[in-house]
Symmetry: C2
């Protein structure tokens, strides 16, 4: 090779390397970097305008009522329902709800379903409504009776579609039965999600699962619970998961019977790659629940027609269902057959009564019928798959709330724990059940109650682990969920609780006086402070001498240095940021926002952005100048 | 390089070449080789068993009747319809049919729609039923009055979903108006597709679009039309296209207002690649109808929820629609808004009355309501996307039936002519319309009538081109659709009409006595003949001396040669198979089944398989031994 050739060859080498690094970075970003937490307005108004700022915030009792007028009208409709065309020969439920069997269900509803008795049954628990963000939100509230010596554990249980608060009637007695050996007593809250049953629907577009999560969290605060446990499946899982992601400070644990990530790219990539060597990601016994993926997907396609039409035309499909009880029954009860076990399709009666009673099923149906809410309930699909698709974004943001899943054999989707832990950083356990389907609380109430209890005990242990085991608290940086849990020392040696910064956007940075980056950084940090202090930006600077000894001075030296530069932002005591002696806050920051090559801080002037909820949401390397952050920070002002 | 290295290098070269050739071949096959024509049983019985072999084949008159009982029941349901939840604020039709506007439509249906007058209106054309394959099939039959000097042109018009025979009421008067300058008079047949309106539904699974095509073709034969023209859109397009593909001998021309290939791989690849340089495949004016593909697809996803649910759960979604007139109206009329123009979604009334009258729309709805057939009509989606998916396979098989499309601006899908000609080998023309949507016959009846007339005239010219222009027939191999149109000479010099072979599977082969392949081929052809003659296989051998002069002898020589070998299959006169003097049959065979590198015959013992309808369906190269065909032929026995 002559030197010209060498030069060319070197250029090619550089070019190829650059392309490889860039594509690796892009792929890494696409699959592994969580998106920004979508902004949620915790006071968004969903009722009619003008907004009533002083609206009634009281909690009012509610009685479920099946009025005679409604019952007579319903019976008329059932009696005069139009004859259905006979089904194709021997198709069972494979073309949908078998019309021959539907006739039997309608007969029962008309002649045997005891409306007044069922009304009483539904009223066995106390019902309430309270206005949240302009909407009357309904909930059941079951308080434990004998709590002497027991820890009262607040648990919210979130229903799905096409379920309702009725889903939990059979599980509640097991949960509230005295369990002295467990030392806990459940206080249970079961809301109707907005637009469902006795909760009002929004009057304008936009109330999707993330907005429901805000309302539900506000409801729990209204009831008086700042810290609580969540149980949910189906839509209840989605809403619960978003609460655990957006409001981790309020959630002590999340129990889900729909442990599924719908849009977590890395998890889905992992599952897809796993189809090559399934044994790498799932045990032999459980592999058939996931692989071959084609079977998994073809069941999903077969079962997702309702979702497709509800996501695009809820008003259209809703009319026939709110005008015809037979239409509503076929549409909703079909799910209780096919989602409980795909094999049920082959039976002429869909094996409906194998796991459920008609009273159970019709109670749930009555909640949709009596309140005429099937259309409003279906709108949540349109609000999910709208342009924002918030609920899919939240699926990709990790949470440290301890999470526990229960996996029933015939649930619509299955994912291995290793995939779930892409999002649920503290995914504690999965209970694997060799039967059961989508409506687990109604199908296996006792088993569900036991599992929820076990989960809550495990969640408690998770939080108290060190206390219980050795009276020594676990390191705070392991358990903390926000920076507000830390206390630091100001440069003058005064204790500063970071919770004092609640509601501010924080820029936390390790500084040094003798670094090549010092001049630019101090100057631009000052500039940022000037521009955005008013809007809520707080800059927290921690001197650190760990990088080439470029911050050797005392607190006084540092104060003099910064005074000369006109620094007005907050300075703290010199700390270590790397190593065992690193300050717990910095250990926490590094854990929450890991770096590109490793967690450790690379040099002076590493920068962390903490959002208004106290969650570290972004990390910038030392070479990124403070003013470069302006664009990213703009979303907070 | 030492010889070992050379050897390695050569091996790599061979390996890479083999891989390249194989993948090229695989891709070519995947995209460009049409699948085998699915077998269609032209006598399949869809009525209840026992099958009635001597069933009534008469054509009986039918009167559309809106009985008082039905009208009173319907009015009751309209009067007592359940109040709908108010729509979200300012959403128009974007969440589906706006419930506020639905109330107005219901008012009109209840109070202003004149049932008796509309019944008369629908009876203005003569209606009939006749039993085909066990099902009573309804059709309108409009015969021309003054036909002196005019050619009577039979035209079948096929409705879609959620349409009916009502779609064509406005277009028929324009078609049947005397058009003496055109020298044609339309005889119009408008059936209800099986399961729609006044045509019975199958009692068992399996009646999809391809099976409908069989029934419709049998209907036309029953009425007395062996050769006819087809018009169709939506499902009517699909059924019409399958008739033109499976029964080309019966179809003189196909006019479609839904010119779309749903599953033609090469066409879809072509359109996808075209998105890189749209100007290569479509004019600048028309590009926005197709590109960007993402917009095209997102509209399709938005508009295909109904299809997803009907393909998977028609019985489930059908109940509410057959029990509730409001439900049916919302479900069906929404399509007349959004499929006519996507912009209509923004209007509170969906701009429904901008292009249609409520009488028009409710007439169509009444056909579903009075016959209670909405569920049976929706089953065709489940039968389309079942395991066989015949209708998608037919989409990939080319047809030589002349085809003409009319492209309305807001049709749900758009494809350029160059893509359409992948399937429609004689795609004569597209009419481009700068307005209009999916229900063109109702929206633009006059324009549709003119376009159909022009198309039929062009189809006639296509068939008579040479006759009209110069009294000389076009070469038969250009116009023929089956081998039955050819006459050949037996080896004894006798004329043999190939139509004598109707119903047989034919293996046509060019033979020679002195070729390296001779011994194996004659022996194995004999064997095939022995085994499959009984089952309908006929082997037609054409001696040919064009390959290295290996068939130099006279007819007598050849006869002696074959006698020695115990040949019992059919021998014909020596012919040319390549060049201008090639026998027309061979020109036709080569055109119908082109070869891998070029159309020409490569050597002695090239083999063509012709199916029981006379269509060449497969071609095998000389080196493929006759017994190798056994597997492929198995499907015919």
């Amino acid at each position: 090779m002559n030197s010209n050739e060498k030069n060319k060859s070197f250029k090619s080498f550089i070019l190829i390397t650059v392309i490889q690094v860039l594509s690796a970075y892009y792929l890494y970003r696409f699959f592994f970097i969580p998106p920004d937490m979508p902004a949620l307005d915790t006071e968004q108004w969903w009722g009619p305008y003008p907004m009533d700022l002083d609206h009634d915030k009281s909690i009012r009792p509610l009685t479920i009522e099946f009025s005679d007028v409604m019952i007579n009208d319903l019976r008329e409709r059932l009696l005069h329902r139009r004859p259905l065309q006979p089904p194709l020969e021997n198709v069972g439920f494979t073309y949908g709800f078998n019309p021959r069997y539907l006739n039997q269900v309608m007969e029962y509803w008309h002649n045997k379903y005891n409306f007044k008795e069922r009304e009483q049954f539904l009223n066995q628990y106390d019902h309430f409504v309270t206005n949240i963000q302009g909407l009357d939100i309904h909930f059941m509230h079951i308080k434990p009776k004998n709590v002497a010596g027991l820890e009262v554990v607040p648990l919210i249980m979130l229903h799905g579609w096409p379920g309702s608060f009725r889903e939990f009637y059979d599980v509640i007695p097991y949960l509230t039965a005295e369990q002295p050996e467990q030392k806990i007593a459940f206080e249970i809250i079961v809301p109707s999600l907005p637009g469902f049953g006795y909760s009002q629907a929004s009057v304008r577009p936009g109330l999707g699962p993330a907005e429901m999560a805000v309302i539900i969290n506000n409801l729990m605060k209204r009831i008086g619970h700042d810290k609580y446990y969540i149980q949910g499946g189906d839509l209840g899982h989605t809403v619960g998961s978003i609460i655990a992601t957006a409001f981790p400070e309020n959630v002590l644990g999340f129990h889900t019977n729909f442990p599924v990530l719908l849009s977590h790219r890395a998890a889905l990539l992992y599952i897809t790659c796993g189809s090559l060597i399934p044994s790498l990601i799932e045990t032999k016994e459980l592999q058939p629940r996931l692989y071959p993926l084609s079977e998994h997907w073809s069941r999903l396609i077969e079962e997702s027609g309702y979702m497709h039409i509800q996501a695009t035309k809820p008003e259209t499909v809703g009319v026939g269902l709110s005008d015809s009880p037979a239409g509503l029954a076929a549409y909703i009860l079909e799910k209780f057959s096919t989602w409980t076990n795909p094999g049920n399709k082959k039976a002429g009666d869909g094996n409906l009564l194998k796991k459920f009673s008609l009273n159970q099923l019709l109670d749930n149906l009555m909640i949709y019928w009596a309140t005429n809410t099937v259309t409003t309930s279906m709108r949540v699909y349109a609000e999910s798959f709208n342009e924002k698709q918030n609920f899919l974004i939240f699926d990709r943001i990790p949470t440290n709330v301890p999470t526990w899943g229960i996996k029933f054999k015939y649930e619509l989707m299955y994912q291995p724990d290793t995939a779930l832990s892409f999002k649920y950083k503290e995914y504690l356990q999965s209970t694997v059940v060799e039967d059961g389907g989508h409506f687990a609380a109604m199908e296996y109430p006792e088993l569900m109650a036991k599992d929820i209890t076990q989960a809550v005990i495990k969640f408690q242990k998770f939080w108290n682990f060190e206390k219980q085991e050795s009276n020594e608290a676990p390191p705070l940086h392991e358990t903390a969920r926000t920076v507000y849990e830390f206390t630091v020392k100001s440069i003058n040696g005064r204790d500063v609780k970071l919770s004092d910064y609640k509601g501010n956007v924080l820029l936390i940075v390790n500084v040094a006086s003798q670094c090549g980056l010092t001049a630019t950084n101090y100057q631009q940090l000052n500039e940022l402070h000037e521009k955005y202090h008013q809007k809520g930006l707080r800059i927290l600077a921690f001197p650190c001498n760990q990088f080439n000894g470029q911050e050797p001075g005392t607190a006084k030296d540092i104060l003099n240095f910064t005074k000369d530069r006109g620094v007005k932002f907050d300075l703290f005591e010199k700390v270590d940021v790397n190593g065992d002696n690193a300050h717990p806050l910095w250990k926490f920051l590094k854990k929450a926002q890991s770096g590109t090559i490793g967690d450790f801080i690379k040099w002076n002037f590493s920068k962390f952005v903490v959002d208004r909820n106290g969650v570290p949401v972004e990390r910038y390397a030392p070479h990124v100048n403070p003013l470069d952050l302006e664009k990213d920070l703009a979303k907070y002002w």
